[in-house]
């Protein structure tokens, strides 16, 4: 992928914001004004804007801003890691099936049919309940849900370039199947696949928060945006603004990653179209 130019603020702005967000996730303990787990019961359920607590306090008197900042790491990890795993696994599956024979292709396509006929959210919930609640469960569940989508895009792209003459040339000159896949096909399909993967990050962050909201992801008292959503939900009727803080955080992060994914896809397609070429 080419470097973002200064003339493309549509890409630069979300890229800078996403980098800043990742920096918050990495440097969270240095930035958070207070503790994520220690609270004062005398300062329960303060509304956002209270002195000393910019975003208020939760039902146990814990500072919401600190929990949001410190929750960035597990929340973003729960969204980003599954995309990484799914991209690697989906690329391997899609490339093998795309370069392989009829049997491999049919095997992949029929398996994908089955997985597509599955309720996605329910599949994630089922996989989650196979493990103890935690980040590992979230990552595993979302990787399973996202891999078929990546595999299908990769498969389509590989099929598109498979009969290209330079691949024929590589084969004739004695390069192994593995070599053709890694050195000839991957560099060509790479940008499209990466753009598609980046468009999945927003969705993945939302799913990860959703699983924690249902009590299947990161366990309390550790801060996580989806779990916070659930913790603050009972306060909705008495403190309607406070209860919205984690909800709006997830919304904003989801918008950010989707805008970034769109900008990357536009860049790759080069036509200003809203979707990468491989997206169906």
């Amino acid at each position: 992928m080419t470097r973002p130019s200064r003339r493309d603020p549509g890409l630069l702005v979300p890229l800078v914001l996403a980098t800043a967000l990742l920096a918050v996730a990495v440097a969270g303990p240095l930035l958070a004004p207070g503790s994520a787990t220690a609270g004062s019961l005398r300062q329960r359920l303060l509304d956002p804007g209270s002195p000393g607590h910019l975003l208020g306090t939760d039902g146990q008197g814990r500072d919401v801003l600190s929990r949001i900042v410190l929750g960035a790491r597990p929340s973003l990890a729960g969204g980003l890691l599954p995309v990484v795993v799914a991209t690697v696994a989906g690329t391997v599956l899609g490339t093998v099936a795309g370069l392989g024979g009829r049997v491999a292709a049919q095997l992949l396509l029929r398996t994908l049919d089955v997985l597509y006929a599955f309720p996605g959210v329910l599949l994630a919930i089922a996989v989650c309940s196979l493990c103890t609640p935690g980040l590992t469960a979230t990552v595993l569940a979302l990787s399973v849900v996202l891999t078929p989508a990546v595999a299908r895009v990769v498969f389509g792209e590989v099929r598109r370039v498979r009969s290209a003459e330079y691949l024929e040339a590589a084969r004739v000159s004695g390069q192994s199947r593995f070599g053709v896949g890694v050195f000839q096909v991957l560099p060509v399909i790479g940008p499209v696949v990466l753009a598609y993967a980046s468009s999945l990050v927003g969705l993945s962050v939302v799913y990860a928060a959703g699983l924690s909201f249902l009590g299947l992801g990161v366990a309390p008292p550790a801060p996580e945006w989806g779990a916070m959503l659930d913790e603050l939900r009972p306060a909705l009727f008495t403190h309607p603004t406070l209860a919205l803080v984690p909800a709006l955080t997830v919304l904003a992060v989801s918008v950010l990653f989707n805008v970034l994914g769109d900008a990357l896809a536009r860049r790759v397609a080069g036509t200003g179209g809203p979707r990468p070429a491989g997206h169906r």
Binding site: P119, V121, A126
Partner: protein
Amino acid sequence: MRRFLTRRLLLAVPSLLGVTAVVYATVALVPGDPVSAFLGPGASPGARRELAARLGLGRPLPVRYAHWLGHAVRGDLGTSVSAQRPVTEVLWPALQQTLVVTAAAFALVVAGGVLLGAVGALRPRGPAGRLAGALSTLSVSAPQFSVALLLISVFAVRLRWLPAGGTHDAFGPGGTADLLRHLVLPAVAAALVPLGLTARVFRTALAGVLESDLADGLRARGTTRAVVLCHCAHNAAPALLTIGGLQLAYLLEGVVFVETLFDWPGLGRLLYDALAARDFPVVQGGVLVVAVAFIGINILVDAAHALIDPRVRSTS
């Protein structure tokens, strides 16, 4: 057409077998067995044995699956462990509630998606088109639970215009008007993501047709803008149909969060609770219902495709 439908229906069989087999295997792997979940820790060994025998847990997994499948094709999905009623009786009311939300949300998806997509395609550079594009992106990125909490906070808690949850008032007139009042917020919360996706796809499709030779030819003949738009919309309709069908399926299976936050007694919520309670027959039956609906919608979409697009008709 008949051959096309037969072929598609036959192809659906292996998919359904795959889905049910995977669910059966997955559910069997879930830690915690239905016997402990239902009887609790203090149960006597005799009671445990009896329930396990009644649920057929002693036999090997493939045998249990074959047994379940044999009954399922005859419309018998077994008995719910926690409700002690036939699974079909438990699923049906929940499915009806989910269909109500899905229908309302889908109406919003189609209306909003077509409107945003058309504005975006007709005014690609103008402020209206940019606004439509921004709204589509916002809509695609709006998680069900965030939107649900936002809507409850604003319209139920602050403004007190609409109820915050449930399907009917506890003490009220009841009836359709009451149901509709309760339906507004859940439908909007469920509709936003599919609405945004539909708007994007329709925009791309319509913009493509508006730039094509067809549109140029019509304009060159002096056809009015409205008629040009009608012809182009017809040509963009297959894309709308495909994405609409996908989103309908997505709605049917994906409203767990909306149902949780609005206390809506639908299928998603039922399946989540059933999984937590290790009520495997309900999970298995519910996933089968959703998968059948998903595959059925896909077949209908393809059939409708052939009806509105002569090119598909001639090749199939």
